[in-house]
Symmetry: C2
Subunit: 228 residues, 2 copies
């Protein structure tokens, strides 16, 4: 069975990526990061997602992105924005973590080389997203070209493929695709700023996009919110 690394944050997008990877016939090697994020309950969701999709292995790599700061997701001195009008604001919000996807994919690239995989699934999205530079198609294309030169496989003429099945889907389309592939979204977590017991705030970009996705897809939202 061919192997692929899947970056699993524990949210809707990465769970749906797992469903796509399975549909495409891959054995899943899940990779998650403990990076000083304030929403570390997402790692529990990542474990549930990896188990749900019967991942052959699940590595949680500890890296300290707080070492250089610069994001409200990793700094206790910055506040996660709430009730932002995502689609009318062009600014990159402070939840952006500098170079995060670049760092995550670099670890995935290293692990893929070790397990003999030429594939990586990542749930980046250029439609219903928060304006992060490292979610754009042209960025993923450039990363792929670099990855093909970075490793032994590159030297030996191999071909490393970054799969982005969600790139051009709306959140509602992602949810409908996932449900058609038996994804259980009740085990996922999206909120950037959850309560200590893991309830979602309902107001950060990630909660707003998630809830709107369920509404637009015509699917009941299984999320437990603080207001509930």
């Amino acid at each position: 069975m061919k192997k692929t690394v899947v970056l699993v944050s524990g949210g809707i997008d990465s769970a749906t990526c797992c469903a796509f990877a399975k549909r495409d016939g891959f054995e899943i090697y899940a990779m998650s990061f403990s990076y000083g994020q304030r929403h570390s309950v997402e790692l529990d969701a990542a474990k549930r997602v990896a188990a749900y999709f019967k991942a052959a292995d699940h590595k949680i790599v500890t890296i300290d992105l707080r070492a250089f700061g610069g994001s409200s997701l990793t700094s206790s001195e910055m506040t996660v924005p709430k009730d932002r009008d995502i689609h009318s604001e062009n600014d990159i919000p402070n939840t952006y973590v500098p170079a995060r996807n670049t760092i995550f994919m670099s670890f995935a690239l290293g692990w893929a080389e070790v397990i003999g995989s030429n594939d990586l699934y990542i749930g980046v999205n250029a439609v219903d997203y928060s304006g992060y530079p490292d979610c754009r198609p042209e960025y993923i294309d450039a990363y792929s070209k670099m990855a093909n030169l970075a490793t032994k496989a590159g030297v030996e003429g191999g071909r490393f493929t970054i799969h982005t099945p969600l790139l051009r889907l709306t959140k509602a389309e992602i949810i409908r695709a996932g449900i058609s592939m038996q994804t259980d979204y009740s085990i996922t977590h999206s909120c950037y700023d959850p309560s200590p017991d893991g309830k979602a705030c309902g107001k950060c970009d990630s909660c707003v996009l998630r809830h709107k996705g369920f509404v637009d897809a015509g699917v009941a939202d299984p999320t437990v919110y603080m207001r509930d």
Copy 2:
């Protein structure tokens, strides 16, 4: 004063990179990694190098590359090759760490964005090297293109530059250049497999290249070897 991140391993190449960065008028932000390497005494050398070149800051980022293994530099179950004939063997040796430069530069990219720098110095070399895929000029070019799309600066039309002043120099030329810029190589460390008290083995690729560099440059080798 313009800022640059410099990747500092504590060896000859990264020390010389610091000298070039200073000559080019940059304030140095040194970045090193504790990545499970067996030659962790190199971090002491990195601290000496950062201090010698009066770095404005020096971050040592802890990441666990042993999580996925695959290299004799990070695995206790693999042996560092000795007395290899570097220039007649085309194989990539087992000291290659999968995706290492990709991972290191990705952290540097994130830190550069936070401190407002558009520059990175890295001591990769395509002449006297060990055949690592992530030291090749075409790899660095591809990484630069990706980096320019990965960050806020990329979105805003900024220009991130990866400086590789050593790329086409022999080890002897690197040493001569460094000495002309007052680099003190006695504070550096190169050996992949040093004794517990930090003496160099004299037989790994890194020791062989280092010693030959001093001989070819006509400069006394300040290294303390185990045989001494």
